[in-house]
Amino acid sequence: MINFRYRLKGTPVHALNPFAKLAWVASIFVLSLLFNHPVYLLLLFLSTLPLVITAQIWRQWVSLMKFTLYLCLAIIIINALVSSHGTHLLWQAPFQLPLVGTPAITLEAIFFGAGMCLRLLAIISAFALLTFTVHPDDIMLAMLKMKLPYKSVLAISLSTRFIPTLIEDAARISDVQRSRGLELDRGRLTQRLKSRMAIIIPLLSNSLDRTVQVAEAMEARAFGSGQKRSFYKEIALKKPDIPALIMGLIPLLLGIFIWWRGMGDYQYYPALARLGFTGLEGTLLALLILSLCLMLPLGLARKRIEVD
């Protein structure tokens, strides 16, 4: 049985307001694309870890990271092969490659690749929190709050709701077809595709009939009759959620300020720049990371309120 990646666990991270988490993930995403300084990127990546651990999604996170490491490898190899901007030559290939020319691997290119890997790790780690701790319905609610057109969001929401039903349908159809002698994993490629389609085509006609029922059910509930629609469940922003929402956005604003002041931009080529910081930059960076990490105590506080 296939399920959402999202699981409700009673951790402080799950107790946080979904909008706050979305803002927080968006902050990490934008900031890791804005900065290319390896220390900034490493700190951004590290600041996702406390939430990952508290949310008890460690195991899923590790399997996601294994997949990410494959991408990292590709990033390092391609950057090392193509970049000829570095000055510290490590290895000059004695042969030529098509498209690349004579590969010359420089220290700077390897460092750049490593920096970009940190960027990817930070982004993927932040999105893992989104996938595993924010319910799909909350994401759609956020889309509505961002004034996205209502009918499109409704279509997405309907679709999410129908996935389990259709998977059940597909399982039933495949049972029926198997009882008629269909062998799903036998034969050559075209034969396999044909047996898969013996499930997809009935599923298609079945669900088209269901479409009519859904539309009629919506009409019966007077869908689209009023100018302003009403909701069964209105999610009001509760008082304890407001600090979390603000804390989700502060890192973004602070980070954009730092970027606008020209910091967080590291020079990889032609030769690696020094890694040090001025006092002001160090203070601002510390503030940024602190504001990212403040999400966790807010979650703990929110959890306590929930328990009371």
């Binding site: 679709s159 129908f162 996935i163 597909a170 898969r196 298609l204």
Partner: protein
């Protein structure tokens, strides 16, 4: 004025500005700019759907077609990229027009990623599959026949990979030249070829049948959202 036109103008302005940024020595963040453009395009299509979907029928139809193709994506995940979802999106766009085609593609990506994992690639997948649906609606007017449809499907196998790879290329590779772009595409060539083969096989073996099923449904209920395309041609005549 329609909001989608406003968004289209915004896309053109941002896109043109990005095009001239290197000439003006302005260092642009390409990964962010591309993501912004893609999201704006998706939202523009959403507004287009808002105007085109007159009743609950269109919403239910688009949702259901998106669900089928998302479900088709998930069980096939074991066989990399041999997924019937691109072919289903192409058939949906072919029969129900560009707006419905885009919505089915976008819903497929977003909803199936609730099961497979969301990431920065989600908007690009929504965009790529959405465009597959849109272009299928226009390819119909060329009246290419089955062979044309197969080539079209195979082409989308590669185009999809290219669109989704673009973000990775823009965000993690330096320098951004044609050479590095091609090299990055090589990285996923094997997956894209599988995807293209799958599309061609699915469209060749079941395209006509699927289009006939959808076409019959469209005629039976006289669903709106589709007046921009021509009446059915060769495929359904074969059946009926």
């Amino acid at each position: 004025m329609r909001k989608s036109y406003f968004l289209l103008m915004l896309i053109i302005v941002v896109g043109t500005a990005a095009l001239f940024a290197p000439q003006l020595n302005f260092s642009l963040n390409w990964g962010l700019t591309a993501t912004l453009l893609v999201i704006l395009a998706i939202v523009a299509f959403f507004f287009e759907f808002e105007a085109a979907a007159i009743s609950s029928k269109e919403i239910a139809l688009v949702a259901m077609l998106g669900t089928i193709s998302a479900v088709a994506r998930v069980p096939f995940a074991a066989i990399p990229n041999l997924q019937p979802c691109t072919y289903l999106i192409i058939c949906a766009g072919y029969v129900f027009g560009p707006v419905a085609g885009f919505m089915v593609g976008a819903i497929t990506a977003l909803v199936s990623n609730f099961f497979l994992g969301q990431g920065p690639w989600t908007p690009y997948q929504m965009f790529a599959w959405g465009l597959a649906g849109v272009s299928a609606a226009y390819i119909r007017q060329l009246n290419l026949g089955r062979a044309g449809l197969i080539i079209f499907g195979a082409l989308w196998g590669y185009l999809y990979g290219w669109i989704v790879n673009t973000w990775f290329w823009l965000s993690f590779i330096y320098p951004l030249t044609l050479k590095t772009f091609l090299l990055y595409q090589l990285n996923s060539l094997w997956f894209d070829t599988l995807h293209a083969t799958g599309n061609a096989l699915f469209l060749g073996l079941f395209g006509v049948k699927t289009i006939a099923i959808l076409e019959r449904f469209r005629q039976r209920f006289n669903w709106g959202l589709l007046d921009t395309t021509h009446p059915p041609r060769w495929e359904t005549r074969q059946q009926s």
